[in-house]
Structures are given as structure tokens and as C-alpha cells.
């Protein structure tokens, strides 16, 4: 049952669109910064399979420029991976 948080950077000028896409994406909770072009994304999935499927969806979001994993928890291993670069759409 992984819970992960990410820093998400939208493509230039696409912050609002990215927020909308992430809001509609299952297992995602989005917290946009009010004064900078950056979002915090928290994902909550049932198992590794669902987690992997979500990762593939996130990979395909064209409004997303860059995604940094900040922390992760799972029932199997309570893992924390500070600021490892997870995905770069640039």
C-alpha cells in the first residue's frame, strides 16, 4: 500500500492544465504552490501493481515537465528516497 510524495514541475505556462489533469488522475492528490510554478503530488495506491500502472500514466502526461520523488512509504518497507529524480519529460 504505497504512499508517495513528489515535486511536480509543469511545462512552461501549463501549471493550471497540469493541476486539472492530476486532479482527474486516480490515486492522486495535488497541492499546487500559490506563488510558484510547482506542485506537490501525493499518490496513494493499493499495491505495487497499481503503483506501477500509475507511474506509467504519470509518465505520459504531456503537461508535466519534471517529477521528483521526495518520500515514499509502503507496508513492506518504509522507504524514504529524498529528492531522487524519478522522471523527466524534458
Amino acid at each position: 500500500m504505497p504512499v508517495k510524495s513528489y515535486i511536480a514541475f509543469p511545462r512552461v505556462g501549463m501549471k493550471e492544465q497540469l493541476i486539472e489533469v492530476l486532479k482527474k488522475t486516480p490515486h492522486c492528490e495535488v497541492m499546487p504552490a500559490l506563488n510558484k510554478d510547482v506542485l506537490v503530488l501525493v499518490t496513494d495506491t493499493a499495491d505495487d501493481q497499481e503503483e506501477e500502472a500509475l507511474r506509467q500514466i504519470l509518465y505520459g502526461i504531456k503537461e508535466l515537465a519534471h517529477l521528483n520523488l521526495v518520500s515514499g512509504y509502503s507496508d513492506k518497507i518504509n522507504q524514504t528516497d529524498e529528492k531522487s529524480s524519478e522522471h523527466d519529460n524534458e
Partner: protein
Amino acid sequence: MTMNRRHFLKKAAAASAMAAVAAMLPGVLFASDIESDHFPPGIDWTKAPCRFCGVGCGILVGVQNGKAVAVKGDPNSSVNKGMLCVKGYHQTMCISSADRLTKALVKKHGKYVETSMEEALDLVAAKMKETIDRHGKDAVAMYTSGQSTIPEGYVASKLMKGAIGTNNLECNARLCMASAVAGFLTTFGADEPMGCYEDIDHANVFILWGNNMAEMHPVLFSRLLDKRLTRKDVSIIDLATRTTRTSKAADKSILFKPQGDLAIANAICYELINNGWVNKSFVEKHVVFRKGKTDIGYGLEDKFAFKDEAQPIDFEQYKSFLEDYRPDKVEALTGVSAGDIKFLASLYGNPNKKVVSFWCMGMNQHTRGTWMNNLVYNIHLLTGKISQPGNGPFSLTGQPSACGTAREVGTFTHKLPKGVVTNKKHRELAAKIWKVPYDRIPDKPTYHATEMFRAVDRGEIKFIWIQATNPLVSLPKTSRYRPGMQKKSCFIVVSDVFPTPTTDVADVILPAAWHIEKSGLYGNSERRTQYWDRMTDAPGEAMPDAWMTIEVARRMGYGDLFPYSKEKHHEEIYNEYRQFHAGKQHNMAPLAILKKRSGVIWPYIEETGKSTLWRYNSKYDPACDPDKDFDFYGNADGKAVIWQRPYEAAPEMPDNEYPFWLNTGRVIEHWHTGSMTRRIPVLHQAVPHAYVELHPDDARQLGIVNGQKVKVISRRGTTILPASINERGLPARGQVFVPFFDEKMLINDVTLDAFCPISKEPDYKKCAVRIEKL
């Protein structure tokens, strides 16, 4: 709410990510910060512009049980992006000051007697009418403020110019922004900056001309610092007469002798031409050259009159004029090395650098203030660095609505809500909208601010109504104007929130509603109009200045011209006022839009619903001729003017008897005359009184130690202050600096009432004084 483990994990994960973002991007704000436990639940947050300076930061005011309990930065405001300065955060703390004016006070037999507002307003109207009947309409005057809201300024103008038919309307923005206005009008034919604060995000170089931005415009300065932190190619140059917090934060600090800025600007232009850094194509297409009168005086004598006359010149004549300003020739005059002048010119001249020039009082409060504004425009026009993102001259304002009210509504003697009284078409438009006979609006200006108080002293003005300002602390040479105001020849009405040295001389004191106790609109330095709703009730019988004016107008028999409702008058007035600026060049946003947004920059583009961020550039400004890349449409030929303006000396310079230059100004903790910030305990305790800054070598020579009481003496008057040595600011040798916020240490008893003959703005930055130990 019970938090289960999973919920906790999600909260913790989110918190980790937010902390990581905060480390990467200082100042970042999330909604959860805003809704955090800093504030108890049950607070209603409402947007407004800040009450204080001309930056126009967006604030959110927290109201609980009918009281303002907190202020925070509005993250939706592109001005401050959630940040505020120390004054901004604490602003509402003055509202509940124990000495708040809550009842009208009428002086009877030398004592103030509490009176109902109805009776006080009856008296004001009766006195005004009686004065007009006995002495003529030019015997009454109103003196308003760059802190008046747009509706307040508008009804003052309508009462004086449209109803009564006198141009005896002035405002305190004459003391701070008139040179900027005259500079814009003479160069571009239209007032206010062409750019906006977004320029900060694009520029590489910021040149601050006599502008202690770190203390006077701290939120904007923090945006400059942020850009320098996040980009490698940004530098800040401080060009000033005194070392300040801005100088210390700048990449380079260049000190010049008082009045030397005129020669520096010309020397930069010399270098631009001499090095081939002129943007020839831009100059050929968009610029003409002119010269005006020289040796133009200083306005020291009563009823001083001056009218400039422009003569066309060509580029070669201008180039020849600049020969006198070769950098090595002006070193002695300016105190700036030729190398530093060449360095400044190289920044402006480098085609790969975007340059913004910022200035405020240093250039405006100057006996050649209009010229200085012209000269900085010359630099930007020669290089074509203007009206583009990150390139432009940017005059900052000191009051929250010096632009929106004083300049746009036009609460000056020569102004109308659109244009000037001397223009027949402008008078016709005003008469049509105001529904008054055209010939009621006089075609000649009367008294500018300094001359208005001279006229009170001379006994010509026999009734004056002062709103939202404190001239007996802020005027120059109060040593003349205070006794002038104490004369029995003039009936004085003062509307204010707190007692001040100006209310002390009033015959009637009217209690005014403060900022958030009324609805209103302000216009900031970047042409941004901002609306706010009333959030709390004013105490006692205090009411908005606009409503006082309306009540008096009705009592004087002008009720048909002021048909506004008490609850919605601010909206009805704004909608009427907006008609003046209809059209592409100055279109104001509809009220419904302003209610939703944290301000809109005019001209508002109806088709897109957007602000115009850069005027005169056809890429951004639909008011331009689309066939031109730039169109300075304020002038009939669409061209801006490069003015030939020489160096001329200050009217009073240090001599054997008065060997020091006196410079006056502000500090970050206090706003202007301190009537609000001195009633905010945290700000008052931070800087409880004024002081005189001395250079340590001068102090040593005079045997003065830090904190010792000294006399600052000029030909006008004396004030006693403690010495400040090596503390906040450091004047150059032979100069002293005094902040003017302290009514108990009135430095304006000492200053000189010389002014720029074109703008009529006084020079608070230069006069001669001597220092004596007590």
C-alpha cells in the same frame, strides 16, 4: 476529525515534499500554509491593496467578530506574490489606537467641543458657502491626498471644479510625484510608466537613481534580490548621495554629490553616442529632439511663475551640447569617477543587457525634477530600451493611490479626470459627464501645493478643507506654513483618522473611516487599479471622506450633481468616473472584474479581458498604430522627445555659515508623517523617534558622539535630534540625513520650499544647514 494511519502517512508525505520545495524555492506558499494553524478558525479573509506605499501589495485581511485580527500577503497578487513588509503585516493595528478620532470636533472659544457629524457638516457647508458669497469662489480650497481613494478624489474634483467652479484643488502628491508627471508629459505626452513590475522578471540590470528601494519599496526590492539569487546574469547598481541598506545590498554603490545626477545622466548620454551605442533605427523612427528654457529659477518667491518653451533641435546640436558632459569633465561636479560613468553607460549601451531604471523621491523632489526625469528617459530612448519586457524607465510612487487618484482622477489644480483645465475639449468632456455648464470649469490653474499654503499665509484663501494628509508635517518650510495656518483669516477643516499637527490648527475636525472601514479603489505605480470591500465598521461617527464631501455638496445646494447612495456610492462614483477614460489608451476595468481580481493594469483590453503590461509597444498595446513597432501616442506625432537639459546648481548650497547639505527621507518602519505607523506599537518601538545621521569624521570633528542631542539649523528654522553615527545610513562627508516621520522633531521646519519650476514639486533633498552640539 480522527486521523487514521493512512491519512497521517499522506499528510507526512505532503509535508516532506512541501519542505523540500521550500528549500529549493524560498518564499513558496501553499494553500495549506494559508490555512495553517497560524490563525484560529472562523476568520474571514478579504482582499485589498495595502494601505501604505505605492507598490500596491495585495493583502488579505482577516476579520473575526467584526474586528480585523490579522493581515497576510495575498498570494494571488502578482505585485507581491504573498510577501509583505513589516508595515504591511502590522497595518491594521493602528485602527484601535486609543486616540482615534471618532466624533466631530468643533473649536469653540479656543477649545474643541464634541459635535454631531450632522452639525459639523452643516457648519462646514455653511462656512464654505459664506466664504464664497463674501470673497468669491477662489477663496475656498481643498487639499487632498495620494491616499484618498479614487471615489474620494473624484467627488472632491467634481465639487471644486464642476459644482463650485474653482481650480483650488490640490493634493499632497504634488510633494512626491509631480516631477514624474511633468517628466512623462513632456517626454511622452501621457502620464505613468509604460512598463510594469513584470519587468523585474526579465531585466539583467537594475539601476536605482537615488532610490533607497530596500527601505521604501521593500517588497519590490526583495523581488530584485530574488532574481539575482536565482539567475546569474542580474546585477543591481545603487546610484545615490548616501550609503543605505540598498547600497549595501547592491552589486555596486556609486555615490554622487547632491544635484550631480543631472550631469551624470548627460555624461551617460555622451558616452552612449561617443561609443556608437545609440539604437539609430529606434531614434530615427520614434524620437525627436528639443530644448527648453534654461536658468529657470527655483520658486522661492511667492507667486513665482514659469512657463517652459520647447524649441526643436537636431541630433547634431544635441550631440554638441553633450560635449560639456564628457565623463572626465564632470568628475569634480558629480563626485563620480569617469570610470564609473563609463561603466554605467556600458550597462545601458550593451545590446545584450536588459536594463530597468528605478527612481522615486531622489529624482522627483528636486529643483530640476522634471529635467532629471527627462534625462533618464533620454538614456532609454537613445538605446531603444523602453516599452519592452525588462527594458524601461520606471518611476515608483510613494503613496498607495498617487497614481490612481492624484494623477488619474486628477486632484491637482491644473487637472481634470481626463486631461487638463486649459484644454477646451477636456473641459467639455468633464462638463458633459458632470452635467454642469461648460463655462463653470475655469480654464486656468490657480495654486499648486506650496503656493496654496502661501496663499493661506497671505490671507487669500479663507477656507481650506484638508483630507487624508498632514501638511504641517509634510510641507517644506513648515516654520512658515504652521504660523500661516494658525492665522484667523482662514477657516480650516481637517478630515483624518488620528489627531496630527494639522488637526491641531483646525476649526473643525471630521473623523474619517480608515482604509478597510470603507470600500474603495487605489491605483499603484504600475497602473494597477485595485478594489476592496468594506470589512469592518468605522468607530463612532467616523465616515468615508467621499461621503463627507457628498454631504457637504448637498448642503451647499449641489445635491443634483451628487445623487449617490450611502451604501453604494463608491461603485456609482467609479462607474461615472470610468467614462472619462473610455477608449483604448486608458480604459479602466469594469468594477465586476476588479472585484474578482487582485487588480488590473490599465489600459484594460475589453476583447481579451487582460491588462496592458507594456504601453507604446504594438506587440502588447492595442492602442498603438498596428503599422508601427512603437507608437508614443501621447504625442500627436507618435514620437517621444529627447530633451536637452543642462546641469544647474541647487538654490542653496553649503557655505561657511551653513556647511552641511541636509537630505530628508523615510525609514522602512514608518510611513510618511508617521500618523499611522507611530500608533502601531511594534513599529513605534523599533524606531521611536527621528535622528540626524552624520558621517563619523564630521561627528568627530564636531565632537559629537552617537545619541548626543544636536541642533540642525537652517535659515528657516531649527530642530533638535539625537545624532546617529554608523547606524542605519551613512551620509557622505559634509552631508546629514534626517527622516521626516516624527512630528516631535519636525525637520521640515528646517527645509527649503524651493521647487521645480515646471512640476512645482519641492526639493526636500538639498538645503544648507549647520550642526551644533547642545
